[in-house]
């Protein structure tokens, strides 16, 4: 049955997290790695990664547009499909996170989404950034046509200029994966090429976190949320062979 978020959060605070900090990789590899985690994890995982080149990621329902978009954006950026829902996200100048939680697939979607984004908000605040949690969502079919960073769901992390993190979830029978794109800085030229104009978003560089390293984000995430037990564990050879 659907579990209570508070009980789950309490239980997970006593578990041992695995942390993976990847070097920048191509979009297809990044998504395959997330799919692998979604299919195999047995303990909580925080993966933090970047992208080796610009890449547009599409939500599951936009998969049928991938061929057309790849043609349209040839020479501009890669196009991949995420295992999760949500709208289009442009990667390259961002940090992307995956929080993968076994035993969490029956949590209320709204509460889990807001709970995980709150973990990140706590981390940014611990690092000294002023962020808020959005209360209003964008509704209706209009939302489907908008880039992820310009449409809102209640519980998202906002900076002074708008959304800072675009997040979405995928769920299997047992596992919940939430990944999100944390805007580091904007590339107005690329955004215009892909979306027809620059996006109105917040960015880490505007919040004083432009020079933060992966290890600092990880430490803030764990400490600010009282996840006291975690270990940094790179991919094993046998895992790399399956991604």
């Amino acid at each position: 049955m659907f579990q209570d978020w508070k009980s789950f959060e309490e239980a997970i605070s006593h578990q041992s997290w695995r942390v993976i900090m990847d070097e920048p990789k191509p979009g297809a590899w990044n998504m395959d790695a997330d799919r692998f985690l979604l299919a195999t994890v047995t303990r909580p995982v925080l993966r933090l990664y970047r992208w080796s080149s610009a890449c547009l990621s599409l939500g599951r329902r936009q998969a049928q547009e991938v061929v057309e978009l790849r043609q349209k954006l040839t020479g501009v950026c890669d196009v991949v499909v995420r295992p999760s829902g949500g709208g289009m996200l442009l990667h390259g100048l961002d940090w992307t996170y995956s929080v993968v939680l076994p035993g969490a697939s029956r949590l209320s979607i709204g509460k889990a989404f807001q709970g995980i984004t709150r973990w990140w908000a706590n981390a940014f605040k611990a690092l000294g950034a002023e962020v808020t949690i959005g209360e209003q969502g964008t509704r209706g079919q209009e939302r489907q046509m908008m880039p992820c960073m310009e449409r809102h769901t209640a519980g998202e992390i906002l900076g002074p200029e708008g959304k800072l993190v675009g997040s979405a979830q995928a769920r299997t029978k047992d596992v919940l994966l939430q990944h999100g794109s944390i805007c580091h800085s904007r590339d107005n030229k690329l955004e215009t090429q892909v979306f027809g104009g620059p996006l109105k978003t917040s960015a880490l560089i505007d919040l004083g976190l432009g020079n933060c390293q992966a290890s600092e984000f990880v430490a803030a995430f764990m400490t600010a949320n009282s996840f006291s037990c975690y270990s940094i564990e790179d991919w094993r050879e046998d895992e790399l062979g399956k991604i």
Partner: protein
């Protein structure tokens, strides 16, 4: 308070099953649609596909979450609710929210083994399951 019709059977994965001879109609419960929120996209199997018990047969996407759907019984897909599919002119996935037990049905299966039904809960059991 979620609606739990008395004449249906239910799985732990929050699917309902309506039995009509050897054909069953399957959808997700009122409780499940409420937890999911606004449904924007549904993927369903092709007619003719054989599904094993508990096999993933599709996905439902709501707000920003893609969730797998699991076959509560084994059988061959004999019909899917075309209205829920994106390439349909009358694409209305929100029927899963507004009418989960009627217009929001998802698939019909020809039962492979009627004994599968014995693993499902009745309305009282499901009401207890969702607390």
């Amino acid at each position: 308070m979620s609606q739990v019709p008395q004449d249906l059977k239910y799985s732990k994965e929050h699917e309902w099953v309506r039995v009509d001879g050897d054909v069953v109609t399957i959808g997700i419960t009122d409780f499940a649609q409420d937890q999911l929120g606004e449904v924007v996209y549904v993927e369903l199997p092709e007619v003719g596909r054989s599904l094993a018990f508990d096999e993933t047969f599709g996905v439902v996407e709501s707000v920003k979450t893609v969730s797998d759907l699991f076959a509560p019984v084994a059988g061959e897909v004999v019909a899917v609710n075309e209205q829920l599919l994106e390439d349909n002119d009358n694409f209305t996935p929100d029927k899963v929210n507004s009418s989960p037990y009627e217009e929001g049905w998802m698939v019909q299966l020809r039962l492979e083994n009627t004994a599968d039904l014995e693993n499902l809960m009745d309305a009282a059991g499901y009401t207890e399951h969702i607390g």
